[in-house]
Symmetry: C2
DNA sequence: GTGTTTAATGCTAACCATTTGCATTTAGAC
DNA sequence: GTCTAAATGCAAATGGTTAGCATTAAACAC
């Protein structure tokens, strides 16, 4: 059995052609994609799909931790990628929207210290860096 | 001259009663407020105001750095507070939505290191912790 | 103060990402 | 193949935010 459909099996989700298609698209890219990005790519295959199905599939995948989501400040859309096993942070380019993954997490120790100081039970954190990627730094100089 | 209206002066914004009102409401609270929260509070004063005015005022305030914004993961609304001089992070309660400010920033050094490693020019970062505040931890236990 | 100019406001409709309701289709179990 | 619950398509609804345009009000000159 293919690795991709195994994910659905493990998650106890029915293997539908739409779910397999969305999984395949996600598996083929390293970028974060919005629901609409996925919808557009899915339509390009010969499978017919509706946008609400894409949303419903993404919701179920998020619940089962098959995908992870990224909320970019000041952007209204949610972005999705295949979930990695590891906790990660991101460098987000303000110009071209590209995202660089960082696997290293500098604040795990800090977090447990926080919990004590504020008596706050931290469940997760989000740490995102915004700025300009090397490509966009160059093109800005040339303007 | 009052401190509040001085902010408008410094920012080169006309002193209108609506702007002064929004500033006053922001100055009176330590919480983050959504545009709608502000709209509701503003209506309770005797000044007539429309929601689009609230949005426009907040946009101008954000541009002039009079307010700072908070984007909470999985929430569609933007939250606003009077801008503090200092960079801060937050503990956000998943239950009661309360926000605790943390002035300490654990990643300034890390950030400059990142810039070198990835040749990425970091302009800012957002670091938010999600979990349960002490009050909500207690009420969860009692359920 | 009055007049003038330009920005701010109110109102309504538009927008965009996302969600929902409901009828139809399909996967999976028998 | 039959059955049943879950998945899907479609269209309409939702919620936060933005835009267009006519009206009002600051700010500045006089």
């Amino acid at each position: 059995m293919k690795k991709i459909s195994m994910q659905l099996e493990k998650a106890n989700l029915k293997k539908t052609k739409h779910r397999l298609l969305i999984l395949k698209i996600l598996a083929e890219t390293n970028d974060f994609l919005s629901a609409d990005d996925l919808f557009i790519r899915a339509k390009q295959s010969d499978t017919k799909i509706s946008l609400s199905t894409v949303y419903r599939i993404l919701d179920s995948f998020a619940e089962k931790k098959i995908v992870s989501t990224l909320n970019i400040d000041n952007s209204k859309q949610v972005y999705y990628e295949m979930a990695h096993q590891e906790h990660a942070h991101h460098l987000i380019c303000l110009d071209c929207q590209s995202v660089i993954h960082i696997k290293d997490c500098p604040i795990h120790d800090y977090q447990s210290q926080l919990s004590k100081t504020y008596n706050f039970q931290v469940k997760r954190h989000s740490l995102e860096f915004y700025g300009y990627c090397s490509k966009c730094q160059k093109s800005k100089k040339n303007q």
